[in-house]
Symmetry: C2
Subunit: 202 residues, 2 copies
């Protein structure tokens, strides 16, 4: 069976909620998950779509819905200061790890997401991200070295390739899960995703 | 306990899905439902929001999601020809009935929604709507008389008042359900709505 693709942005609350559920759901049905962080704003721009939730009426609704959905899903969450964070450092770090210390990549991503959405850590800050990398592996070198790598062409190119792939797959939101070519947008598609993985109607 | 407000547009598939679920869910928790059809495009324009699903990438996704969601919810559905229909005649007829033959209003709305989303009836057509009214009550007079009423100032004013109310309540989509002042947008909020009505977490 094919792995499941899990696209998300590190600053997306619904993406965070999905990140707390998708691996267990997939494992239950004998699947693995490929985590694919992107910069949602960049993907939307490439698709010719406007940024999400810009309008005050939608922002007010969605802010309340973030908290309600977290409670419903039994996930620790609070709206971080400075939301939404810039997430290029976190996403680049993920792809660096994915290349050089693959087993650390997903645990690192979870540290970033939980750090941001539980503990209000400033994940826009390159030093915060470099320290989080160091907490998972020494294989990328010192914190200063990791910062250099995060600003380097290799990390930029890997993230850009991930965004290009997402745009080709028509990923227009976070989370966006692809199962056997079929897209599921939003953490509220978890029940349909579960039904699809179970091979029943959905 | 306060009634639940159920805002929808007659051309909204997700609104149709909610219409098949909301009364039974409310009744289970000792609540009644006030059906409030609106013209979603007019409400969005008043709120300063763009029409939904205009972009081809989103339209493609949502069209597949309509069918998937119908299957998941066990509801008969097919995408009607000419989707989305213009819905001012249906909505005006609803409010005329609501004033003059209240017990016929919700059954009429169900006839319109099922006629459109199950049988592909052309609900943009004023004669189709007038006949559907006549199938539920003779109290508005002949089909010709109903057509006159649908073009009249009273029906226009009632629908406009409903849209104005929706805009004040910040209704930015269909379906949009309000429980004790709290908004739930989308049929995918049914589980959270059920939890709220049950008085548990959501």
């Amino acid at each position: 069976m094919q792995p499941i693709d899990f696209y998300f942005d590190f600053a997306s609350p619904y993406g965070y909620f999905m990140s707390e559920k998708i691996d267990a759901l997939a494992a239950k049905h004998g699947r693995t998950v490929i985590w694919r962080p992107i910069l949602l704003f960049a993907a939307l721009r490439s698709l010719g779509l406007p940024p999400p939730f810009e309008h005050p009426v939608k922002l007010e609704y969605i802010t309340a819905d973030f908290a309600r959905s977290a409670t419903f899903l039994n996930i620790d969450y609070s709206l971080p200061p400075g939301f939404p964070a810039l997430t290029q450092h976190a996403a680049r770090a993920f792809y660096l790890l994915n290349g050089k210390a693959p087993s650390a990549a997903v645990p690192f991503a979870q540290t970033v997401l939980r750090g941001y959405f539980r503990d209000g850590r400033d994940i826009s800050n390159i030093d915060v991200i470099a320290h989080m990398v160091g907490d998972h592996t020494a294989s990328l070198g010192s914190t200063a070295k990791v910062c250099d790598l995060l600003k380097g062409d290799e990390a930029k190119a890997m993230l850009q390739a991930a965004i290009t792939d997402a745009v080709q797959k028509k990923v227009f939101g976070s989370p966006f899960v692809v199962v056997d070519g079929e897209g599921f947008f939003g953490v509220d598609r978890l029940p349909q995703l579960a039904a699809r993985l179970a091979g029943t109607k959905a």
